[in-house]
Symmetry: D2
Subunit: 160 residues, 4 copies
């Protein structure tokens, strides 16, 4: 995300902690997936996910199910938008910024599956390409442990 | 799916049973989601899913997480393609038809989220819009218990 | 478009004429494409386009360029949203309804190309799947003269 | 496009000239749009387009029609795939490589419209994210004269 979209602010540790809890715990299906935050910055977000038997597509291939990838990319785009909104409203209290996220909703999502999801650990990242007053657009990537691009996505979110 | 795409054949009960097992059990993440087949026909497929706490998006809203919907629609498109391939190759043994599905893979997926996923039970259906020798295209819908359209999707699959 | 989205109103001939002029003349690139309105109703819109040499993809194949199809489907989704907005605000003057369309903008578009664009005349149609206060979602189809589905699309539009 | 996808070869001037002619002249609708190649490399392609009255969306806003953008991005993804195929088959004659492009077809396309298309000149670029034996996936961008990202896209192409 370039600086035109959001200033490259330093978030307070409490804000990062609350966004992390929201993402990892309160959004229950993210916990079902096992998504764990690695970084929340105004310029982008990163997370990882460990392979577990419940996340497998066909059991003989031991690949991550495509639905795990699409769900993860949707979730990543969403938290990237939250971070960008937070960065735009740093003059507000943390409570006020957190309250802004209640209106967030995914409008639509596209995922391109490039390579099979093989491995023990995957990472995902997202950046906001445009943050408008009503709609935000994001781009997301899903990578294996060696940093190979497995899937890419883009999504639009309603922000107010 | 119109008849130009696949003849409106009657599948053997064994074929339907094996596809159902593949979908509900062997594709492990479908089991994690709780997807259950209602119908497998050459002209389209249908399934349902019960709300469970693990599938919730934000815990205060009690809505189905968007990722559950995208994963379900991807899975539905896939099994619709399998049914269409099966219908096109009815002269083959069931084993031979089942063996064809090993090559199936999602190329890409789009999901439009129209309305929030509220309720205790949801249904999903898919039809094949084109079945080529290499690529198939599908259209999918996700509905609430009253039949309201909550999400719609389209996807492309590699078939050989 | 079901009646929950927009009442199945009868538009005044003047409203239909003004929307048609907007679509065929004022949106200049639609004129470059040669898109002509066949029907504007609250429940959906239809148009057609004649093959012309300038619209061809590769000159040896004589097929309609995919970009003509994507541009047509984007345009069709847009006018379907205009019709739905118009239907929702029938108590307003025609001028007031027309003024609402200045804010319309495409958020994103997906097109699936199913079959090559062969023939002398094509038709396109669109319906609104959801009309919200901020975002509308549409589904579109592009057909050949025999009514075969050549391409399908979906799009999201900002409406205010 | 990283080197894992295609070696960073140097194309013969004749190959570049023939691809340019194919893109700018033989694909007739590209000529209607006025797309002009700036670079064809194994690692990506670039082109530009001048604003002209025929390409305008609504005549009062003087913006490029979204359909011009979607058509341009589709065309750019296509030529990026051609370049990547060409790079993979450098041991073949130029004629043999050119013959491979006859089978290319767009499977589907997504375009995100981020900012209005204002200005006198625009540029577009594309890179191949994966080149398989049957399907290729690309990512595209559409920029204004100052290099601002106006639209982004992704597409899948059938390659054989």
């Amino acid at each position: 995300m370039n600086r035109a979209i959001a200033p490259d602010v330093s978030f307070e540790p409490e804000f990062v902690a609350r966004l992390t809890t929201l993402f990892e715990e309160l959004i229950v299906f993210n916990r079902t997936l096992g998504l764990k935050i690695d970084e929340i910055a105004a310029t982008g977000v990163a997370a990882h996910i460990e392979m577990r038997p419940e996340l497998i597509g066909h059991f003989t291939h031991r690949r991550l199910h495509g639905g795990v990838i699409s769900a993860s990319l949707d979730a990543m785009g969403g938290i990237a938008v939250m971070a960008a909104i937070g960065a735009r409203h740093m003059s507000e209290s943390i409570d006020a910024r957190m309250a802004r996220f209640g209106k967030l909703g995914t409008i639509d999502l596209r995922v391109d599956y490039l390579r099979p999801g093989l491995g023990q650990r995957f990472s995902a990242r997202a950046e906001v390409m445009r943050l408008g007053s009503r709609v935000a657009s994001t781009r997301m990537e899903f990578l294996d442990a060696e940093g190979r691009l497995l899937s890419m996505g883009s999504a639009a979110y309603m922000v107010s």
